[in-house]
Symmetry: C2
Subunit: 119 residues, 2 copies
């Protein structure tokens, strides 16, 4: 177990839409991701998912609304709710979610990452 | 479910060593706390606990070492490990931990908070 510096971890990767694992506890994981562009609508039937913006601005579209998260803000997407992250400019986010979660939930796409690399 | 702004939430309380709940997901909770001074050695037999510093600097003493967390750093204290947070100056932290966790773990003290207020 060591001290994790979030800013240092962000320097270790550049790929978009490819979450990296930086911590694990109680069956949950802490992930970092860099996003740019549009993701696809998907849902996680059994897992709530927390999106926290570290740098930049992130939109999340739902079927009935859209929210915007700025630095130091987070939103918990409840299980079963379809959502589509959109980053007009590159955004750095932290995710907190169960180890069991799948990247694109109920959808399999070219963008889908099967296993999150630990950094 | 609404967008949570961490800085705005910190403006809503001033008491030290009294965590406030700002989110709940997958049987876990997101807490904010302001710390100043020394806590007591305690452990959580069944829960890992994540300490993230939002503002300031936090020392955590263990029986065999001491770590320092600065802004944008976190540390996961594994279940069963005795730890003692120390804040020489006021520090603002975010905690990720299970809903089942008890404030002072295996110890009951004057400082113990039984139920975390949601803000």
């Amino acid at each position: 177990m060591s001290v994790i510096n979030i800013q240092e971890k962000f320097k270790l990767f550049s790929a978009h839409w490819s979450p990296k694992k930086i911590g694990e506890l109680n069956g949950q994981q802490v992930l970092l991701a860099k996003l740019k562009g549009e993701f696809l609508f998907h849902k996680h039937d059994k897992e709530d998912e927390l999106f926290m913006v570290i740098k930049g601005s992130l939109d999340i579209e739902f079927r009935d609304k859209k929210i915007t998260l700025n630095e130091s803000e987070f939103y918990i997407v409840p299980k079963g709710v379809e959502h589509k992250p959109i980053a007009k400019e590159e955004v750095h986010i932290l995710l907190f979610e169960p180890l069991s979660i799948k990247h694109t939930g109920n959808i399999i796409a070219n963008i889908t990452v099967e296993t999150y690399e630990s950094i």
